[in-house]
């Protein structure tokens, strides 16, 4: 695979240079993605787009550019995808020589190595690719904000729904793919947080005993789960989860990786003006907007909002504004989105969706918090363990 590098320059067209001040302000943002090998999955129905995330950044750039042209700002987005065997830190250093505003989509360890480069100390990095809860906790970094929700936020959203419905007896199937153990851990922790019980757990290992179709195995596999209200499935790649609904031994709903899913974003979002964002994205990318597209869009829009309001372009000023009380981003999820100033996580509602519709949106009614109901989702200040933001 070759190195892909594109530069999208937001040059002011003569027709668009409406009353723009003569001294244009230039804002450069780098979108940097680490390509990772995708685990094999049973179904070909939902391929992961190669430009996942990138298209969200491009759409966000276009939104910023439109605002910028009324304010005399030029927006430039530099994008690069580092191949699987490429050196992410080299790409990061090159990018840092160009700008100190960066959006990263990379595994947690790679992200941390990049954030810890001496050249990145004063940079503003937005994590739009890693859901690791630890990055918002003990492993937080002062120069990293997160627009993608943590696994803990997603699990908490689901548990709030189960509490509301009083479906409090749970069973869990955990896969063996990358991220499955972390997703299962998040579900366990969240169940404990909201007083629910996971009564039975099983591991789905696609081993030699699996002699028929996955779907044919499921009734047998779930026969000994005992009595439960909802079956949770931890399977981040959705390898086997899609075969679980309607195939369980007992007639029970499924949640987690399939069935009722807590997500950052999904094509079923159409309220709160979301239909407009969806159609803009579809027109640009030719496919529906996915979680990481949304996180990258929110990242560049957050930078845009900070630049628009402060008229500053340097990372320290923008970071201070984004973590401050005046920042808010309209993210088409019905509430203003802000950043937690103790760990850099973007507060945001978490939609609970199935394949056809939005089922509910967390925080659900009745889950209260002295600061913001959105802080009932994910790590709260006392438990975060993040000290880099003090």
């Amino acid at each position: 695979m070759t190195r892909i590098r594109t530069t999208i320059a937001a040059l002011l067209g003569a027709a668009l240079a409406l009353a723009a001040p003569a001294m244009a302000q230039e804002v450069r943002v780098q979108y940097l993605k680490q390509a990772v090998p995708q685990p094999p999955v049973l179904s070909n129905l939902d391929p992961i787009p190669e430009n996942l995330g990138l298209q969200g950044a491009i759409l966000g750039l276009e939104d910023n550019r439109t605002t910028g042209r009324f304010l005399g700002q030029d927006w430039i987005l530099m994008t690069e995808t580092v191949p699987e065997d490429g050196d992410f830190l080299v790409a990061m250093r090159t990018a840092l020589a160009q700008t100190d505003l960066l959006i990263l989509d990379a595994p947690a360890a790679t992200l941390l190595a990049a954030a810890d480069l001496p050249e990145a100390a004063q940079a503003l990095i937005l994590n739009a690719g890693s859901p690791e809860t630890a990055l918002r906790g003990a492993e937080c970094r002062a120069n990293v904000l997160h627009t993608l929700p943590s696994r803990a936020m997603l699990a908490d959203a689901l548990m709030q729904f189960l509490v509301t419905r009083r479906w409090d007896r749970l069973a869990l199937i955990e896969g063996e793919g990358p991220g499955d153990a972390d997703q299962a851990a998040a579900l366990r922790a969240s169940a404990t947080k909201f007083g629910l019980r996971i009564r039975m757990e099983k591991t789905w290992s696609f081993d030699a005993d699996m002699r028929r179709n996955a779907s044919q195995e499921v009734p047998l596999f779930t026969q000994d789960l005992g009595e439960y209200d909802m079956l949770l499935v931890a399977d981040e790649a959705n390898d086997f989860a899609r075969y679980i609904p309607f195939n369980t031994w007992l007639p029970r709903p499924v949640a987690g990786a399939e069935g009722l899913r807590p997500v950052t974003w999904d094509r079923v979002m159409e309220q709160w003006g979301a239909a407009q964002l969806q159609s803009r994205f579809l027109e640009l990318a030719g496919r529906p907007m996915l979680d990481r597209d949304y996180a990258a869009w929110a990242a560049i829009r957050a930078i845009g909002e900070a630049v628009t309001r402060t008229k500053a372009t340097d990372a320290p000023s923008l970071r201070a504004y984004m973590l401050g009380p005046d920042f808010e981003l309209a993210g088409f999820k019905g509430r203003p989105m802000t950043f937690r100033n103790w760990n850099g996580q973007m507060r945001q509602p978490i939609p609970l969706v199935d394949r056809g519709a939005l089922v509910a949106q967390a925080p659900l009614e009745g889950f209260l918090h002295p600061r913001s109901e959105l802080d009932t989702l994910g790590l709260d200040q006392p438990e975060s363990g993040c000290e880099a933001f003090e």
Binding site: D63, F70, T308, R309, E328, A330, R335, S372
Partner: protein
């Protein structure tokens, strides 16, 4: 249209001479007509897809409807309910405002970041003006010299010189501006920001911010207090402001900019219209699918009237 003769028959049977409120139902592709005397829905008229903005011509001879998903502004005969013709509106028209000359419609094209100016007589597009992302709120000054478009994602009020049809100012407001109105003989411009939770008031002469109103509803998180549509009482002394998912309408003193009262209405209150003497206010409540009738003097909700799904816009029509 198959139902047209039936509607005509019903019309003949209906008692003549009642004032009406016309409400667009975004998810039913209909208009509900409320008789102000009886406070009941007396007609339901089919429209194009996803009707939102609605306004009558100054002589009430036609009604203009933004049929967003039909990509058209429809012109309807309010007597027969028949669509006379479509205007070339640009894509996805959401809201519009009729210029005092009764001839030019300024239309926000939500998906295209454009404001389209249409001549309703020649039925042609006169101008298209580049504005911010997701234009929505539209207003025109009483003297007709300035038109305003607010853009939801760019968070600006764009000031259009109606003579040259060029932008002459772009002013930032809080997140997701939704609605704009000129008041006090066009000396002030009010712009509501749904996600920001505020109304920004501009001095029109200088296009500078003069005041900002924030809203609070007791026992409601500020995130859910989202100002959208608003209208003014006689003499522009008070504004009635729909606060979206907080399910309240705020009464704002337009001199002191203080919120004086909150009135509980239906769910996700959006836009509104007054009756002739502005003693009654009709609010569209999207989620509960009804219209709340508010007694303006007593600042109390009188009644809810069931309309179609997701009522959006409202407009007054006097007795003919």
């Amino acid at each position: 249209m198959k139902s047209a003769p039936l509607i005509a028959l019903l019309l003949l049977a209906a008692p003549a001479g009642a004032d009406e409120i016309w409400v667009t139902n975004e998810k039913d592709d209909t208009i509900s007509v409320i008789d102000i005397a009886t406070l009941e829905v007396v007609r339901t008229i089919p429209t194009g897809e996803r009707p939102r903005g609605i306004t009558f011509s100054h002589d009430y001879s036609v009604v203009y409807i933004c049929a967003s998903d039909s990509d058209a502004v429809q012109v309807m005969d309010p007597v027969t309910g028949e669509i006379l013709h479509d205007l070339p509106s640009g894509e996805d028209p959401e809201q519009f405002v009729l210029h005092p000359d009764n001839r030019h419609l300024y239309i926000a094209n939500e998906d295209d970041a454009i404001t389209t100016v249409v001549d309703v007589e020649t039925r042609s597009v006169v101008a298209q003006i580049d504005v911010g992302i997701e234009p929505e709120g539209m207003a025109v000054s009483p003297d007709g010299k300035i038109a305003i478009t607010t853009s939801e994602t760019t968070n600006m009020a764009h000031w259009i010189d109606t003579e040259t049809r060029q932008l002459f100012a772009n002013t930032l407001v809080d997140s997701r501006p939704r609605h704009a109105e000129f008041v006090k003989d066009g000396t002030e411009l009010w712009v509501s920001s749904e996600i920001g939770g505020t109304i920004t008031i501009f001095d029109v002469a200088t296009q500078t911010e003069k005041a900002k109103i924030a809203f609070e509803v007791p026992n409601m998180h500020p995130d859910r207090v989202q100002p959208v549509g608003f209208e003014f009482t006689n003499g522009d002394t008070h504004a009635f402001v729909a606060l979206g998912p907080s399910n309240h309408v705020a009464v704002v003193n337009a001199e002191t900019y203080e919120v004086e009262d909150l009135i509980l209405v239906g769910r996700r209150v959006w836009h509104m219209a007054f009756n002739a003497d502005r003693s009654l206010l009709f609010t569209t409540n999207g989620v509960s699918g009804d219209v709340t009738v508010v007694d303006v003097a007593r600042r109390e909700a009188l009644k809810s009237i069931k309309v179609g799904r997701f009522p959006w816009g409202a407009a007054f029509r006097p007795a003919q």
